[in-house]
Amino acid sequence: MEKRIGIEASIAIAEAVGLCDADVVAAYPITPQTHIVEHLSEMVADGHLDAAFVPVESEHSAMSVCCGTSAAGARTFTATSSQGLALMHEILYIASALRLPIVMSVANRAISGPINIWNDHSDVMVERDVGWVQIFCENGQEAVDLTIWAFRLAEDPRVSLPIMVNFDGFIVSHMVEPLFMPDREMVKAFLPPFKPLQRLDIDNPISMGPVGIPDIFTEAKQVQQHLLTQAYQPIVETLGEFAKVFKRQYKPVETYRGDDADVLLLTMGAIGETAMTAVDQRRAKGDKVGLVRLRLWRPFPFEDLFRALGRIPVLGVIDRCISFGGPVGPVACEVKGALYGRKDHPLVVEFVAGLGGRDVTVTDFDKMFDALFEAKRSGKVPAPVLVGLRE
């Protein structure tokens, strides 16, 4: 039986990792991920979790240890943020190329400079192309649920790839909120023991991570592209299995009051909750506005997005990150790329909001909806908007 409890999301995530019986946790503390790792180290020290806790000297080492232990057949977890994720960067590619089903929590935080420890998505957007499954959570419940689900998906023999579970630093990680904490029996029913596709074994030696000469490299990359794209089906299936056991259904793309909307706004992560309040307020005034919440980022859920958009004439996309000197918003760029060449595609209005911990308020969403209605009226797409910028 699940119990409804009040708990800080970070602590709940650590407890969820414990319920999944992780064998190895190798991590380096960094704000705002710290409470997850602290709590896991306590659980191991107190004997509540039978795992090896490896206190490394950097995130580069953390991910390297994770690769080694996952290759040896251990269920492996780590967590990081921001500069820590950046320091892992080169090893992230190794983990996916070697098909190591590591689960990593990322408490999303800005990348410095200027030095900033607060929430946005500039850390994870850099890691778009590392070949990992990447999913975004809106609240503590999702962060707990999708952490448990992540082990199941990553270890699915059709997938066998690492996965990043993203949730917003501080505004999710440090929030005390009510959630339903799964119990051990339910997790056991959902998550079978880890059976790696292959592992380092002295009785059956293999070499993992050999050189890939030009004659092999293209084929090796095609394997990764194929696997991550094809991971979509197992993702949908395992989310369905999750719903059967835990009675909470998650989809790659969700909508909120989008069916008869005149304009839609696309969000990722926790600001979706505030956006729902803004939608309700506008709807109460008779404005037909709705939300599209993009949960799955890699593999990109093209068909789900097209279904969610329907024949909407105007779509706003909120980015929590800037691609400097480029197309401004990485998510908007991706969405526009997906829509290219489709008949009756919507006008796409780009917003950048909530950089480096700035709150995105109901009033901010209101202004964004105003801009969307203006685009609909005029048929013109305004230049990308930095929400709340002082000019």
Partner: protein, 97 residues
């Protein structure tokens, strides 16, 4: 699977492009990288084994008579053994000679 001499389709690659058959290093002779080979003058050799220890390839071994020599199937001619030899009994001889 070792790929050096194969041209597999992408669907034929091993998981994570792992090398799944042990012994590929033995099968792949790397001695042809060498432009010079070590030669021992046994009169000056004291069989100390420093060359055996320092060889980065691990291809120098003691023979039955107690003197060391390099396995030329794998020796890459790096020149570390003459550099480390305390008696100076190893010299590098160009392969073209």
């Amino acid at each position: 699977m070792a790929y050096q001499n194969a041209r597999p389709k992408w669907t034929e690659l091993a998981v994570g492009t792992a090398v799944t058959c042990p012994g590929s290093s033995r099968a792949t002779k790397t001695g042809d990288w060498r432009s010079a080979r070590p030669v021992w003058t046994n009169e000056h050799c004291v069989k100390c084994g420093v060359c055996v220890i320092f060889c980065p390839e691990g291809c120098i071994q003691f023979q039955a008579d107690g003197y060391p020599t390099a396995d030329l199937d794998y020796c890459k001619g790096c020149g570390i053994c003459p550099h480390e030899c305390p008696t100076g009994c190893i010299r590098m001889q160009d392969e073209v000679e």
